[in-house]
């Protein structure tokens, strides 16, 4: 399949822009053909107008039609075959095996949302029937459910070119809710984005959907994204990326004449707390798990454990020894693009210059900058130093972690209380540790969206109970998740219908409950209809 290098506005291929950019293979530094034209203002506006035009017919479709579309997206992505995997590998430096797994995750995620909307109870339907005889005034009939917001702007992430990009969780949750989507493709993988967008548009054709249900806008700078977020027709934003990028979009959305919600997932340091009993009992094993999590995907996960908090005393040696050994022996990995490597190297340099921070170990094998490679590193410092220098709790995107040792529970408490918002927080703990450090859990609940016991934060399941979010700066809205079925709730709003005739009600709210969804009817949850 030939890439055309153009933005897609619904089914239309455009390219009136004058500026272009190339993808670069990070493993070789080579520029990849073709050039990609940046979308111009008129094209961005046209994409939002197409999304708006698609909204009414798309949301009016029966849920099984939208579900069929989501499943067809999965099929069309699979049908791209090796072409997609090879292009994604070339653009990101990610191993093909990882990308095959990520493709499965992407396809399964679309299917999960298909199942969710086919089942239908996610709309949180509530019915309070009339009480015409109530005193002093009759009670009307009230029925309420969630409906889609309207066109959603989605920003693809660099580190998941499939699962958090054009057909990623933001896109499929918005499409499932009934919202057309305009995607700003990540400039590091424009070819992958084009392939996936074309697959989605073929699925839309197959399902006879309105054009404009999906558009892809290409662009290397910030202008395209800012115009998308400030466009009057955009109703919500999904973003995965850096704190600076996410905050800029949030600020732009908040300054609109009509502010709109921005769900930006901006990563975090994902602290891992290894408690004394666990360190004593399983030090070596925890070191192996931690090393795997720190270096997984060359450390390029939002849930990468960048901070590891350990007791300063006790039986730390097996843990430290094994962690150092594995770090030293670890092979360098290719990073997604030169910008990410630069930021990582700058972070390493800053840490090395700090006299108060030591280096436990680093990878012995040299990493080639020409091949965009990074090596693992483990730093260490004391709780005193960590508590005095807030820069040490900043995310350093890449395969490193900072060990912080505490010497009193009071220090441990202060470390936790000083944390910024996190996607995750992890405890390694024996049963006894859990009892002795039970006071940590309510503190961590305030700091993180997901708490893990005796595991590692990398690896985010796509399921109803997942919450991939957290207090700022992990996200701009701690009530939203960007992974799991609850992600759909970000793109919907309640509407209440008072004394509506049956035929004018949405089918989900009609007496007979023809869809058989779970509803809260006069205070009781039931799938039964009303006679």
């Amino acid at each position: 399949m030939d890439l055309h290098g153009r933005s897609l506005i619904g089914r239309e291929t455009l390219g009136r822009g004058a500026n272009s950019f190339h993808a670069v293979d990070p493993a070789s530094g080579a520029r990849l053909a073709p050039p990609f034209l940046e979308a111009i203002e008129e094209e961005i506006d046209a994409a939002l107008e197409a999304a708006e035009a698609a909204f009414a017919p798309y949301r009016a479709l029966k849920p099984d039609r939208r579900a069929a579309f989501l499943r067809e997206i999965g099929e069309r992505i699979l049908a791209l075959g090796d072409v997609l995997i090879r292009r994604a590998a070339a653009e990101t430096g990610l191993p093909e095996g990882r990308l095959v797994g990520e493709r499965d995750r992407t396809v399964n995620q679309a299917r999960l949302f298909a199942d969710l909307i086919e089942e239908g109870s996610w709309v949180d339907a509530r019915i309070d029937t009339a009480q015409p005889d109530r005193k002093p005034v009759p009670k009307p009939d009230l029925r309420r459910m969630l409906i889609p917001l309207g066109p959603v702007a989605v920003f693809g992430a660099s580190n998941f070119p499939l699962a958090f990009s054009v057909a990623g969780g933001d896109t499929v949750s918005a499409l499932a809710a009934g919202c057309p989507v305009v995607v700003k493709g990540h400039p590091a993988h424009p070819g992958t984005s084009e392939l996936v967008a074309r697959a989605i548009l073929r699925a839309a054709d197959q399902c006879s959907l309105p054009s404009g249900v999906l558009s892809l806008l290409q662009g290397a700078g910030h202008e395209v994204g800012l115009r998308m977020v400030t466009h009057p027709l955009t109703r919500a934003v999904g973003f995965t990326g850096s704190l600076a990028g996410g905050r800029a979009l949030f600020d732009a959305a908040a300054r609109r004449p009509d502010p709109i919600p921005v769900f930006a997932e901006m990563g975090s340091v994902n602290p891992v707390f290894i408690l004394p009993g666990a360190l004593r009992r399983r030090g070596r094993e925890i070191a192996e798990g931690l090393h795997g999590s720190v270096t997984l995907g060359t450390g390029q996960f939002c849930t990468n454990p960048g901070l590891t908090v350990i007791p300063g005393e006790g039986d730390t040696e097996p843990f430290l020894h094994r962690l150092a050994e594995l770090t030293r022996a670890s092979a360098p990995g290719t990073m997604l693009h030169a910008g990410i490597l630069r930021a990582y190297l700058e972070g390493l340099r800053r840490m090395r210059e700090l006299r108060s921070v030591g280096i436990l170990e680093q990878a012995a094998a040299g990493a080639s900058e020409d091949r965009t490679q990074a090596g693992a590193a483990v730093f260490h410092t004391s709780a005193e130093v960590f508590l005095a220098d807030r820069t040490l709790s900043r995310e350093m995107f890449g395969p490193s972690t900072l060990l912080v040792s505490w010497n009193s529970k009071e220090q441990l408490r202060r470390i936790v209380e000083g944390l910024e918002g996190q996607l995750t927080a992890t405890l390694h703990a024996t049963d006894e540790d859990v009892r002795e450090f039970a006071w940590l859990i309510p503190l961590l609940e305030r700091k993180a969206g997901r708490l893990v016991v005796n595991g590692f934060p990398t690896g985010v399941e796509v399921c109803p109970a997942m919450h991939h979010g957290g207090p700022y700066p992990a996200t701009t809205d701690e009530r939203g998740t960007s992974v799991g079925t609850a992600a759909i709730l970000r793109f919907a709003r309640p509407v209440c219908y008072q004394d509506f005739p049956q035929e004018a009600l949405p089918v989900e709210l009609r007496d007979g409950n023809p869809r058989g969804i779970l509803r809260l009817m006069d205070g009781r949850f039931t799938r039964k209809g009303r006679e």
Copy 2:
């Protein structure tokens, strides 16, 4: 009971400020004793610190303890007896009968939230059990539920001194969620606020709750509120009031280093569409209902119908004649305070000066400005004029409505599409109208939070199916409601627990489901526990 005129920080009565203000009886213009001291910066900070200190112990309480507190709040408010009703009447000019009804609503609302949290399913618990044998990697055990956000700042509204004030919907929904509340009392009814805050604090004492679960800060200007919203410990904001006030708080919250959600309900013009068949069949009756809704509470409701859209042709005479007749005969009503009256009179003056807008009728009886009285007025204009002048769709808080006549369905469509976000939209329609104008409903769904058929927008039921919200500028967050049990969702966020030992899980997520709540377990809704 003597009013002390001081802010209350938890159980502590403070008053280090130098500035004071008085309540004014709008019906007489008389200043009411005592003076109320404005909270100073240190006191505002102390209130948030007290709320933060109360948060951990308060949220750790079993839900039945919080439910008992909410019920006790109701009892303590009732126990204030006539003292409360008389003070509220003096401060607001609202009739005592209305205030007795509003007190019942306030007490019943607290009880409704008590029932909600006792039942417990609102936490949206989801459990996905482990699959240790899954390939390529085991699936962990994941459990997720909603937990409270933390201290919430609540801004009382002037027009509901009980139901949307110190113990109003924002406060009780936040307390129900497990969040301590700091209320900024509305300066028009500081004595009512003090009485109610003291009742809540007596209830907190009775229930042995931590001090700081509720504070009341008094202040006549904007400074107190802005400092509350920008305080680092504040986690969310509930507000009912003007667009200017709500937007200022929203902007301040969005500019924070860590932005927080603001749920500001800012009112709207609540369009009423009278369709041709209904106008012909029930013109007189609709006029009577509309007049009642427009003049209810001297027009001082967020859901007041300020815009009435009618066909320009057909049998309009019985409707217009009856509406004019009732308007002319209507008695003047006392407004809440001089500022509201000034804005209403300014609005009337502006409308009268417009040559393109006519006056259908106004109240014949003179309204006394000294007694803060306003008279009803009905204006009329054409769709052409309305569509050309956006200022005509602005809310004019008071007992008036603007009739707009359309001469084609295209004009009607353009009127609807040009609307800003609304709390409500109402249709008067025969069955035939509903069929002929079915295309209006999807358009109105995008514009309003609640759609009413053959009723009037005033009168907002407190129940699970209510949605009192709507697209901006009706609110700053169309996903939130400030009335009904779903209001609790504004003050909670999900947290996911991965591979947690049973005893460390919140009770709602334990295998046995000891609270018997409805949970989504491995994709199925059930109240059963897991064996």
